[in-house]
């Protein structure tokens, strides 16, 4: 059974030269075809991480003639026809037309959220150095584009920590199924669903921050602004192409409302800003709106590999010991190795952790778990090379030699931004305290369970 929704990543057969560098980076061997001939994507296997989009360098040349014109190609991809940048063989179908329509629809109350990895990379598309940190300009640009509320996925990342941290502590203290897996990365979740369905119960039941934010927009946010959930159009700006898929999943619906209505990648947002003629580099620094735009440094860390783990440790430590953590900077979870193991000593409790980046690296560990040999409690998995900062929807680095420095700079901006925050731990975010006090009750409570948790399902494709 092929899901129509999974047909997001494509390869233009007219442009593809069949070099198969995309097949080398594909973590699930979903790219098929002979060397030297156009490749195609097995949509059932594909986890839509978009790494093929990032590496492909086969572009449409002005010196060659193609059956389909550039304009038609841009239209097929939902890219603005006025766009000047070159187009490549591997691409994703965009969602700009939907968002533009919502922005001009006077009935719609638009709420936008912005993933943490977007603010450390979007400025690159406007000539600023690789990894420039631009949260203020990003908020200003979204406001100029006409979104009614400029909210933030980072807020929901803090919320995720409250729920996921509590879930972990509960599983450890009450004897639940361990190890527990993070569920923020939709490509990783799809991978478990199709390749290791027997391990689905290990996934945290938490929705990803994107989906938690969406749910909050149409409930708490709707109340705060006195608007009907029906009128809210919820948009997410994401570094990730697979977030488009996640937002369309039927599981990501609460009381008849789809949590997120449209997802734009970092690059698509850059197209929108250019089309509107906004001069990004000279924008003033503005703030995200409250309440759903306030975040802690921990929430921001979600965009780097090890970030969810670090944020979770900062909170879980204090949940377990009732004491402040001696050092908020947890170095051993950081870094770029594919697998990083460690132990957190929280009072008498020893929490063993594993951080994995690059989906291929997780396979031996999953096999270990299947054999019953796993000796750890919590595992963070990110599909992309160094986490979301290197996601498939991020600014595409032109030359392979520059990717390493791009990732390095985006990561160091991430940690710098964390250090700049007044609050560094999710549970200290005042708006998080307020949302539990005024609306959700307590983590893992009835209401939070209904709104913020979900279920995963075995998929048609199985190896």
């Amino acid at each position: 059974m092929v899901d129509k929704d999974t047909d997001i990543i494509k390869i233009d057969a007219e442009l593809c030269t069949g070099c198969r560098r995309c097949a080398e980076v594909c973590p699930v061997d979903a790219i098929e075809g002979k060397q030297g001939t156009p490749q195609f994507i097995n949509v059932e296997k594909c986890v839509m991480c978009g790494q093929c989009i990032q590496i492909c360098s086969a572009y449409a040349s002005i010196f060659e003639e193609y059956r389909t014109s550039r304009e038609d190609k841009l239209r097929e991809r939902n890219m603005p026809v006025t766009l000047e940048e070159p187009i490549f063989a591997a691409y994703n179908i965009g969602d700009l037309p939907k968002v533009k329509e919502a922005l001009t629809n006077t009935e719609a109350f638009t709420m936008v959220q912005c993933a943490p990895a977007v603010r450390v990379a979007i400025a690159e598309e406007f000539g600023m150095p690789l990894g420039s940190l631009a949260p203020g300009k990003l908020a200003a640009a979204l406001r100029q584009l006409g979104f009614n509320r400029i909210y933030d996925t980072n807020f929901a990342a803090d919320l995720t920590i409250m729920e996921e941290g509590s879930e972990l502590v509960q599983r450890i203290t009450e004897g639940g199924l361990l190890p527990m897996f993070t569920s923020c990365c939709p490509a990783w979740v799809k991978f478990v669903e199709q390749e290791y369905p027997e391990l689905i119960p290990h996934l945290s039941s938490c929705k990803s921050p994107q989906q938690m934010a969406g749910t909050m927009f149409k409930t708490y946010g709707a109340q705060a602004d006195g608007v009907e959930p029906d009128n809210i159009y919820s948009v997410a700006i994401m570094p990730c192409t697979c977030k488009k898929f996640e937002s369309q999943r039927p599981e990501m619906n609460t009381d008849g409302y789809q949590n997120v209505d449209a997802v734009l990648t970092t690059r698509e947002l850059a197209y929108l800003i250019k089309e509107a003629g906004i001069d990004f580099s000279s924008l003033p620094e503005e703030d995200f709106d409250k309440p759903l735009g306030m975040y802690s440094g921990a929430g921001h860390l979600f965009c780097a590999t090890g970030g969810v783990m670090e944020a979770a440790i900062r909170t879980a430590y204090e949940l377990i010991t009732n004491e402040p953590i001696p050092n908020v900077n947890i170095q051993y979870v950081r870094g770029s190795q594919g697998v990083r193991r460690g132990v957190v000593h929280a009072g008498d409790v020893k929490v063993k952790t594993v951080v994995v980046s690059g989906l291929k690296n997780v396979v031996p560990i999953l096999e270990e778990i299947k054999k019953g040999n796993a000796d750890f409690h919590f595992m963070e998995v990110m599909t992309c090379p160094v986490g979301c900062v290197s996601g498939g929807g991020q600014p595409k680095v032109l030359l392979p030699k520059d990717t390493e420095i791009a990732y390095k700079n985006r990561i160091s901006s991430t940690y710098r931004h964390d250090e700049e925050q007044t609050y560094r731990k999710s549970h200290e975010n005042p708006e998080i305290k307020a949302i539990y006090k005024n609306f959700l009750g307590e983590p893992l409570g009835h209401k939070s369970h209904h709104l913020l948790h979900t279920e995963y399902k075995q998929r048609g494709y199985c190896k």
Partner: protein
């Protein structure tokens, strides 16, 4: 008199996978400002080497910097000259007559639309009819590999190729290398044969 032969870049079709990274790197290297991500490419990608795919081979083709360069010999406005060890086109004086393009035995010359600071360069007088109005015509200039004349690290294509398929051929050294290789490979055999 010692002869300085011009160097050139040559691709190994056994290694080339046809990814076009070399073309992208070339186009980026010839922009005056530094460009790192695709969103900053505000003009078409205009490389000076051209990936060619036939049924049997895949490799980029680029200028050989001929010693008796037919393009330079035939250019009516003397826009092509020998500078240092390279054959260079002066794009400012090029009139876009395409003679060099036809003269080149390798197809290494392309006529590329002219841009300056990310904006198209229009011809001063020539216009054409379009949708009932007179439009200016964009200038086109001859363009070919200049061995990254202005680049500190030499040819960008060589550096960028993920398969190390491109090499900078220093003709004298290459000839020496081949001679030495032949000597050591076949010399011993011949020695045996004669003795």
């Amino acid at each position: 008199m010692s002869i300085h032969l011009n160097s050139f870049v040559l691709a190994d079709p056994k290694k080339c996978i046809g990814c076009k990274v070399c073309e992208v790197a070339c186009a980026v290297a010839h922009r005056s400002e530094e460009i790192k991500t695709v969103g900053n490419m505000d003009i078409p990608v205009m490389p000076k080497l051209y990936l060619v795919k036939t049924a049997d081979v895949t490799m980029p083709i680029q200028c050989r910097h001929c010693e008796d360069a037919p393009c330079a010999n035939i250019c009516p406005v003397f826009a092509i000259t020998q500078i240092d060890n390279k054959i260079i086109i002066n794009e400012e004086s090029c009139i876009g007559c395409k003679t060099c393009m036809i003269a080149c035995p390798f197809g290494a010359i392309e006529l590329a639309p002219a841009f300056k600071d990310g904006k198209p360069v229009f011809q001063s007088l020539l216009t054409f009819d379009s949708e009932e109005e007179l439009s200016s015509k964009q200038a086109a200039v001859a363009s070919k590999c200049d061995l990254c004349n202005d680049r500190l690290n030499g040819p960008a294509c060589i550096e960028a190729c993920p398969r190390q398929a491109l090499t900078y051929v220093n003709v004298k050294k290459e000839k020496q290398r081949r001679c030495t290789e032949t000597a050591s490979k076949t010399g011993a055999n011949i020695k045996n044969l004669i003795v």
